[in-house]
């Protein structure tokens, strides 16, 4: 049996997916990206091989994606995370879709037609608005772990509106809200809403809405707010954080089959 590997070294987390010849996921791993991407990639691969009981020699093809895509020595090629998130999402939703991938450092809106062909894409500008970095900053200001944000937002009974997309200005606004006695959970919901508003203004929705990426995976309430904003159901593929790595593995398999 041959296996196919996709590794997505993102700004915050490195994700790896191992597929068999039938496009079945046999292992998925995740590590902090850290500062030595090559070493992180080795750790991800070692964990996946051990989990799946597969040897390195059985991997027929590998592709890398994400910010660190140039830093994985053992892959056969690289491809952008825009292509990979599209590929991974389309695998689960075979129709015209708009993929919204919210990552640690950037957000993407990808339009795919009903054949899975990308018709357009947008990335956020040189700005942390609408990304995980925005929520990290808010968590820091509120002195709460990032992992608690989703529960806090869900508990909110009254929303506090943040007027600015700018991470720095929003943080200043939050200080004013704290002084005014606003509840932490209401402020967090306001921050979540701000992320969604930024995404909404990036591009239009074409077809069904699919959300991917680590930020949405760990903060499902963002999908709820996205549904409100777009007025449609937000689909999430299985394990949204690994969709980029999954897409890369699918590309690896496809290229192998095409003899590339």
């Amino acid at each position: 049996m041959h296996y196919f590997c996709g590794i997505d070294i993102g700004a915050s987390a490195a994700k790896l997916v191992l597929l068999d010849e039938n496009q079945q996921v046999v292992a998925r791993t995740i590590h902090h990206s850290g500062v030595d991407y090559a070493q992180t990639a080795d750790h991800c691969l070692a964990d996946a091989l051990s989990a799946a009981g597969v040897t390195r020699q059985q991997i027929a093809a590998s592709l890398s994606t994400g910010y660190g895509r140039d830093n994985v020595p053992w892959v056969g090629g690289k491809i952008t995370e825009i292509a990979c998130h599209g590929k991974g999402a389309f695998f689960h939703f075979r129709r015209a879709i708009t993929v919204i991938d919210i990552g640690a450092q950037d957000s993407k809106v990808i339009h795919l037609d009903n054949r899975g062909r990308r018709t357009s894409f947008k990335m956020n500008r040189k700005c942390a608005a609408g990304t995980g970095a925005f929520l990290e900053e808010i968590a820091l200001r509120l002195n709460r772990p990032v992992a608690e944000l989703n529960d806090l937002a869900e508990r909110s009974t009254r929303e506090v509106s943040l007027g600015s997309f700018c991470t720095v200005f929003a943080a200043t606004e939050i200080l004013a809200k704290i002084r005014a006695g606003e509840q932490v959970e209401d402020i967090v919901k306001g921050a979540f809403r701000s992320v969604v508003k930024r995404i909404v203004e990036m591009d239009t929705l074409v077809g069904d809405l699919v959300m991917t990426g680590g930020v949405a995976a760990h903060n499902r309430y963002l999908a709820t707010l996205a549904e409100e904003a777009f007025g449609t159901h937000a689909h999430m593929p299985p394990d949204p954080q690994h969709v980029g790595a999954f897409g890369a593995a699918l590309f690896a398999l496809e290229r192998h089959e095409q003899g590339e």
């Binding site: 910010y67 995370e81 990308r118 018709t119 357009s120 894409f121 956020n124 040189k126």
Partner: protein, 409 residues
């Protein structure tokens, strides 16, 4: 040693360095030789100034040098501190920063810096910032700052508009004669316009070479080769240089020499260059075997309307015809023609943060043209000179993803 991502330079470029060096030397020696210096916006009435015997200096060329040498990013904050917003033209802020600090890339060419102006002459056909920029120096040096106020968003160039701009140009003659200490010789003006027209025709033919598949030159080559068309139009040296370059280009095209080896795709660059990143961008496109074959920017120094038999009106027509001061409808049609003529696969729009007048993605044009032409587009956020507004990593990923998309088309 050359690498796969290295730009394939032209032999003629060596000659261009001499031509540009001579131009700058003459600017430096002007005061000793009793010649006056006029500053002129890059699409200003250069022919009139040359005909009056001025040495003509173009500060936008200096702005581009500040960008290309990446000195701009350190100099812009000095102008910001003085009161020029970081949101306005970064040619202006980097040039004024350079003046305030007394540092210029011209010093590497053994010039003390930009020559002091005896008169400053603007044309607002590009934007209002050029006027504000020149007025700063007018105040600093207490010299006259005069110019032409060209209407914006021009649709059809009708007679009343041409009259309006031509009258303003003619009205410049008196103050310019006064500052020059000489009278305008109309035959000299006609002669200069004739030379300018020759230069423009040759420059256009140079850029036309990119219609060949594969293209023998890229937009990145164009940003280097355009130097004489900007600063030496109306001068024999520019004409001679482009004849030389054209011979080389024709040979390249005849031999099927590609500027980008293994050219797979052809992209149109709309908007300003990102001067400090031209080399890395050129390298990335070469690596992706994608030729940025044509641009609005390099074609902005093509002035087909110049006509020595009708000097003022033809100058008015030529300088009001340029893309940047035209209507959205005109711009769309222009880009459509370029895309068809140069057999373009996709359009890259550079949204230059400090140059709203030359960022044409801001009023939905990319989407309209995508629907009309069926060609994909990419918007790159950046700036002409202020690299604080540019994200290298995001741009690299965007371009890579764009070329992936072209491959899918």
């Amino acid at each position: 040693m050359s690498s796969a991502t290295e730009r394939r330079d032209f032999e003629a470029t060596k000659k261009m360095k001499g031509v540009m060096g001579k131009y700058f030397m003459e600017l430096t020696q002007g005061p000793q030789q009793g010649r006056k210096t006029a500053w002129c916006t890059s699409v200003g009435p250069a022919e009139l100034l040359r005909a009056l015997g001025y040495n003509v200096y173009f500060p936008e060329n200096h702005g581009a040098m500040l960008g290309a040498t990446r000195m701009a990013t350190d100099l812009i904050p000095l102008a910001n501190a003085r009161g020029f917003s970081p949101d306005i033209c970064s040619y202006l802020t980097s040039d004024i920063g350079s003046y305030l600090k007394g540092e210029s890339p011209l010093q590497k060419m053994k010039m003390p810096g930009p020559p002091k102006a005896d008169v400053l002459v603007f044309n607002t056909n590009q934007c209002r910032d050029v006027k504000d920029w020149f007025q700063f120096y007018g105040r600093e040096w207490n010299v006259p700052c005069v110019g032409i106020h060209t209407p914006r968003a021009i649709g059809e160039l009708d007679d009343s508009l041409i009259d309006h701009v031509a009258q303003q140009t003619e009205a410049l003659v008196e103050p310019l004669e006064k500052a020059a200490g000489t009278k305008l010789d109309i035959d000299k003006l006609r002669e200069t316009i004739a030379l300018s027209k020759q230069c423009t025709d040759l420059w256009k033919t140079v850029l036309e070479a990119a219609a060949n598949v594969p293209s023998p030159l890229t937009f990145f080559d164009g940003t280097i080769q355009m130097g004489p068309a900007v600063v030496l139009r109306g001068h024999q040296d520019a004409v001679d240089y482009y004849r030389l370059l054209l011979d080389e280009l024709k040979q390249r095209a005849a031999d099927g020499v590609a500027a980008v080896e293994g050219e797979r795709f052809r992209v149109y660059w709309e908007g300003m260059p990102i001067w400090g990143k031209l080399s890395s961008l050129s390298g990335q496109f070469t690596e992706l075997r994608t030729c940025v074959a044509a641009s609005t920017y390099c074609n902005s120094w093509v002035f087909e309307a110049l006509d020595p038999s009708d000097p003022f009106r033809s100058m008015a027509r030529a300088y009001s015809s340029i893309f940047i001061c035209r209507s959205e409808e005109f711009k769309e049609q222009y880009i459509q023609q370029m895309v068809e003529h140069f057999r373009i696969d996709g359009i890259l729009y550079h949204d230059a943060k400090t140059c709203p007048n030359n960022s044409n993605n801001r009023y939905e044009m990319p989407e309209r043209l995508r629907q009309k032409l069926g060609k994909p587009y990419l918007v790159v956020n950046g700036d002409l000179n202020d690299l604080r507004l540019y994200s290298e990593e995001q741009t690299r990923t965007n371009i890579e993803a764009f070329v992936e998309q072209l491959a899918e088309e």
